[in-house]
Amino acid sequence: MAYSDKVIDHYNNPRNIGSFKKEDEDVGTGIVGAPECGDVMKLQIKVEQDTIVDAKFKTFGCGSAIASSSLATEWLKGKTVEEAGEIKNTDIVQELNLPPVKIHCSVLAEDAIKAALNDYKKKADAETRTETTTASAGA
């Protein structure tokens, strides 16, 4: 199969490879896929005042899966948490010219974004609750 130039570019020069500390409160982590299925994506976001200031990924999968997650990290940076939730797999398909057989790679990237956002929101909500509890206890 011939890959689009954009997929090849992301494969050769993946953007934002790496990891943040999962435990950090300002970090949201999404891990989706399974080794038996041939693809696993780990996507992480770092959030400051509701804005994604940094994003990183690691992917086990084919070139299209790598490119989809690499592209996702590029798109995430600078977006608010709410805006990030609006990224659709079809946008990724269009940007990377993915053939039908590779659409599942883009779906996985969308799932990874959603999982990372959910993880962050869960942490943030827990944080808010703790603060509220502490505040009322102090009163």
Binding site: Y3, I8, Y11, P14, I17, S19, I31, V32, G33, A34, P35, E36, C37, G38, D39, V40, M41, K42, F57, K58, T59, F60, G61, C62, G63, A65, I66, V101, H104, L108, D111
Partner: protein
């Protein structure tokens, strides 16, 4: 050294220039139909076909009359399975084969199953080898055919054909062997190995595509087949159709070259293969050999590179022609059924690469491939979450994955 490098010789091989030379006259000045009995054009075509048939028979220690020309190994496999089952249906309705056969055998068997034939697909051990005792145990009084390949096209494992042949003889069951990957590369003796029918093809041994053969034993026992193609009664009635004389002349020449060069060529190719294997495994951790460590085709190397996906790896070395057992490289999106049959986990099946060395492979190409593979694997491991987890000491098997 010229790029791209071809290292996919299980898939097909380049025609040897000496083979092309042998074929050329039969396209133009010697274009006759070998079945034309009453003029010199026919005679010289017939002589070329006879000569090729003799050479091919000699390579597998058979009689020239036992060679039936077909379009290739897929047709030979289909003719053997379907032709035998149809001919001997009064005698029984059971066929034994293995789970790691080529699709041409597996799918022919599946097609027979739809017609009510019972098929036993024997398992293989973790090196991909059939246990002859399993063959013996599977035989019933209704078994009419055993079909086991000589060597695997994916992992190169060479099966104990002679032992299986002995069991088949003892039990009076016909034995078909798909020897596509073995003929011309390792010694094959149809009689000694107890083979009754054998498929092989020209394009795997530096001959042209579109021509293959089915060996059909004539004595002890005399094997009979119902043909799949009816017509002028060519090839002793087993395969009608005007013979492609140029292809047959090329096939014959290819076989002659294999016979002459096999003793030195197999040693040279195996040396290159071992150099490739050592070069990669010495430099990289978590690389696993698929197949048998010693009972393996000289040019075959099948490795799984843990934590990286096969198609991504192929993309990283795209100037080298290789093949992968990864789902992403198959039409079905399922990882290699051969590797799965060995008990290789799906994750490692997705990570497998098949290297196929051949007559035209060079040490420079091997060294270049080693270097490129190491770089590509490291590049991909750096971005692999699985590698990161493994480095952190997490056992990947205990992780709850969200399978999709």
């Amino acid at each position: 050294m010229k790029l791209p490098i071809y290292m996919d010789n299980h898939s097909t091989t380049s025609c040897d220039p000496r083979v092309v030379d042998a074929m050329l006259p039969f396209f133009t000045e010697k274009f006759g139909n070998s079945a034309s009995r009453n003029h010199s054009f026919g005679w010289e075509a017939e002589e070329a076909v006879d000569q090729a048939r003799r050479r091919i028979a000699k390579l597998i220690h058979a009689d020239a009359k036992e060679i039936v020309f077909t379009s290739g190994a897929t047709e030979s496999d289909n003719l053997a399975l379907k032709g035998v089952v149809e001919m001997y249906k009064e005698k029984g309705d059971h066929v034994i084969t293995s789970s790691t056969e080529h699709r041409a055998v597996i799918d022919a068997a599946k097609s027979l199953e739809k017609k009510g034939v019972r098929v036993t697909y024997l398992p293989v051990d973790k090196t991909g080898m059939i246990n002859p005792d399993d063959v013996r145990a599977a035989i019933t009084d209704k078994t009419i055919l055993i079909s086991i390949m000589l060597a695997s096209n994916e992992i190169g494992t060479i099966h104990p054909i002679q032992e299986i042949g002995k069991i088949a003889k003892e039990k009076g069951v016909l034995f078909h062997c798909d020897a596509t990957q073995g003929v011309g590369k390792i010694p094959v003796n149809a009689s000694e190995m107890g083979i009754d029918l054998m498929s092989f093809t020209s394009h795997k041994i530096y001959g042209p595509k579109g021509i293959g053969a089915l060996y059909v034993r004539r004595k002890a026992p005399r094997v009979r087949l119902v043909p799949m193609i009816d017509g002028g009664g060519h090839e002793r009635g087993m395969r009608s159709g005007t013979l492609p004389v140029p292809l047959i002349a090329g096939f014959g020449k290819a076989v002659e070259l294999c016979e002459q060069e096999m003793p030195t060529e197999s040693v040279r190719i195996q040396g290159l293969r071992d150099r490739l294997q050592a070069g990669i495994t010495d430099a990289l951790e978590a690389v696993y050999l698929n197949g048998h460590p010693t009972e393996r085709l000289p040019g075959n190397l099948n490795l799984s590179f843990a934590y990286v996906e096969g198609e991504a790896l192929l993309m990283g070395v795209k100037e080298i022609a290789l093949s992968s057992g990864s789902a992403c490289t198959s039409a079905t999106l399922e990882p290699s059924y051969v590797l799965r049959a060995l008990g290789v986990g799906s994750d490692l099946a997705h990570s497998s690469i098949r290297f196929g060395l051949g007559r035209f492979s060079t040490p420079e190409e091997v060294d270049y491939t080693i270097d490129r593979m190491i770089k590509a694997v490291n590049h991909l491991r750096e971005m692999s979450p699985l590698y990161e987890m493994a480095k952190e000491g997490i056992d990947l098997k205990t992780v709850q994955w969200a399978a999709h």
